[in-house]
Amino acid sequence: MKARLASLAVVIGVWWWLSLGASSLGLPGPVQVVDALGRLMSSGRLMSALSVTLGSFAAGGTLAIVIGVPLGIFMGVRRSVGLAIDPVLTALYVMPFSAVIPLFVLWFGIDEMVRLAFIFTFTVPQVAIVCYQGAKSTPTTLVEVAKTYLATERQIFWKVILPYEVPFIFTSLRLGVGLAIQAMVVAELLIQSVRGLGFLLQFASAAFDLATVLGVILFIMLLGAGAVAVMQRIETSVAPWREGISADGGGSNV
C-alpha cells in the first residue's frame, strides 16, 4: 500500500512540476484538472454522460463475458475446437480498434447497436483467449487424480477443470473490463450519436479545454481502476486458494 501511494505521489508530483512551466493550453496542472472535473460533476453533465456510456458498456461487456468465458472453456476442453478458433480470436485481438469503425457503422448503424457490437467484438477475444489458456493448462496430474478415483467426464469438468479455471475467469474479466472501457470511449469518440463520455471529451478538446479533457480521462481511468479493484476483491473471496497457485508459478500470469 505504501509503495502504491508513493508511486502515485511521484506521478502527481512530476505532472505538477511539468505543468509549472507550461501554459494552460499545454499541460494543465493537477489542481486545474480536478477543478474542471468538479465543475463537470456539479453541473450534472458528467453523471448524465456516464449513465449513457455505462449503458452500452454494461451491455457489450456482459455479452462479451457471457459468450467469451464459455467459448474459451469449450475451446480448452475440446482441443480441436480450440485449435480451429484460436487464430480467429488472435486476428480479432490484433485488429486495430478505430480502423474498422466505418465498417461497423455500415453494418450496425449509429445507434446503441453499433456500440454494443463494437465493445463486444473487442472484448470477446481477450476474454476467450485467457479462459482458453486456463482450461488448456489444467495440470495433467489433477485430471489423472480424478481418473484414478473413477471420475466421469462430467465430474472431471465440474470438479477439476472448472475450479482450476476460476482464477483465469477473473483474470479475463479484469482484462475484459479494461478493454471494454477503451472500446467504449473509442466508439463514442468516433460515432458521436450520443452524449456519453466520449462526447464530453470531443466537445472539450474542440474548445481547447484541456483541463476538462484530462479530467474526463482521469475519471475514466479511476472508473476502470475501481472496477478492477472490485473484481480483485471478489476474486480473493471466491478463490482464496489462488495465492497458492500463483506462488508456484502455475497461476494465471497471462
Binding site: L142, E144, V145, Y149, L150, E243, G244, D248
Partner: protein, 277 residues
C-alpha cells in the same frame, strides 16, 4: 497371506512412446507439421511380474527405465502396446476401484481444503457429506494431520501435503496401493520421516498390496518385501531381490545393521551397472 493367487500380473508387457517431432529443416521451423516424423521410444520391453496379495514391492532402476510406466499401466492410466496387465484376474482397461495411486507431485486440488481433498474419492461415488467427512477425519488423524482439516494445500509443507495424498488414497479404501516416487519431491530429512510414517500408517491399516517406484535404495529396503531391479531403457526386469526383514523389524535400528548395508550394496551394484552417464 491367506490368498496366494497373484493380485497383479504383468504379462509380457511392452510399451512404446511415440512423439511427433517437427521436421528439423529450415522451413520446417516455420511451416506447420505436414509430414511429421514420429520418434519411437521403447520404454518397457517384455516385462513380466507377479505380485501376490499382501506383497509390498519396490521397483527401482536407473532414470528413464520405465518403472513409472509399469506402475501407471497397473493403474490403467496408460496401456501396453503388447502384453497385458491383470488385476484380480481381469485385464486392466482403465483405472479401477481396487487401486489407489499416490502421485510424486501430490496432485492435491489447491481449491479444496484438506478434508475435501481427502474425501474426494467418496465424494465422486456420491457418499453423503457427513459419512465421507467421518471417513476422511479418520484418515486425517491416522496420517497425523488432525487440526488441519480446513487448511488449504498451499498452507502445508511438502511432507504434510503428501500426508494428505496418503489419506486421500486410504479414504478410497483400495486393495492395492500404487505409489509413484511418493517421497521423491521431499527433502532428505522429511523423506526419512515419511518412510517411517508410511510403515506406521500401513501397519495400522492392515496389509494391503502395495507397489511403489523409488530412486531411494534405503527406502526400497526399508519398506518393501521384494525389490524389482529394472535395467536401463528399454526397461526389463533384471533381478528380484527378497528383503527378509519382518514388518516389526522395520525401524530406525534396521538402518544400522550389516544385513541392511549388504542389501543396499547389492541393490546399488544392480542399479549402478545400468545407470547411463
Amino acid at each position: 497371506m491367506s490368498d496366494p493367487s497373484p493380485k497383479i500380473v504383468v504379462d509380457h508387457v511392452t510399451k512404446i512412446y511415440r512423439t511427433r517431432k517437427r521436421r528439423d529443416t529450415f522451413l520446417g521451423r516455420f511451416l506447420p507439421d505436414l509430414r511429421p516424423t514420429i520418434r519411437e521410444l521403447k520404454a518397457v520391453d517384455d516385462v513380466s511380474l507377479e505380485i501376490t496379495t499382501g506383497d509390498f514391492v519396490a521397483i527401482i532402476g536407473p532414470s528413464g527405465c520405465g518403472k513409472t510406466t509399469v506402475l501407471r499401466m497397473m493403474d490403467g492410466l496408460i496401456f501396453p502396446d503388447s502384453g497385458e496387465v491383470r488385476v484380480n484376474g481381469t485385464p486392466v482397461l482403465g483405472p479401477r476401484a481396487e487401486c489407489g495411486f499416490i502421485f510424486q507431485d501430490f496432485g492435491l486440488y489447491p481449491w479444496r481444503t484438506v478434508i475435501d481433498n481427502v474425501a474426494f474419492g467418496p465424494e465422486l461415488r456420491g457418499v453423503p457429506r457427513n459419512v465421507r467427512y467421518e471417513l476422511a477425519r479418520k484418515h486425517i488423524d491416522l496420517v497425523g494431520l488432525k487440526g488441519f482439516e480446513t487448511s488449504f494445500p498451499h498452507q502445508l509443507s511438502g511432507g504434510m501435503q503428501q500426508r494428505v495424498g496418503i489419506a486421500r488414497m486410504l479414504s478410497a479404501e483400495p486393495e492395492i496401493m500404487l505409489m509413484d516416487e511418493p517421497f521423491g519431491a521431499l527433502d532428505a530429512l522429511t523423506r526419512r520421516t515419511m518412510q517411517f510414517e508410511l510403515i506406521r500408517i500401513l501397519a495400522a491399516e492392515g496389509s494391503a498390496t502395495s507397489v511403489f517406484v523409488t530412486h531411494d535404495l534405503d527406502e526400497a529396503i526399508l519398506l518393501a518385501d521384494k525389490v524389482v531391479i529394472m535395467s536401463a531403457r528399454p526397461g526389463r526386469v533384471k533381478e528380484i531381490v527378497n528383503i527378509p526383514f519382518a514388518r516389526s523389524e522395520r525401524g530406525e535400528a534396521l538402518l544400522e545393521t550389516s544385513m541392511f548395508a549388504e542389501l543396499r550394496h547389492h541393490l546399488w551394484l544392480g542399479v549402478h551397472a545400468e545407470q547411463p552417464l
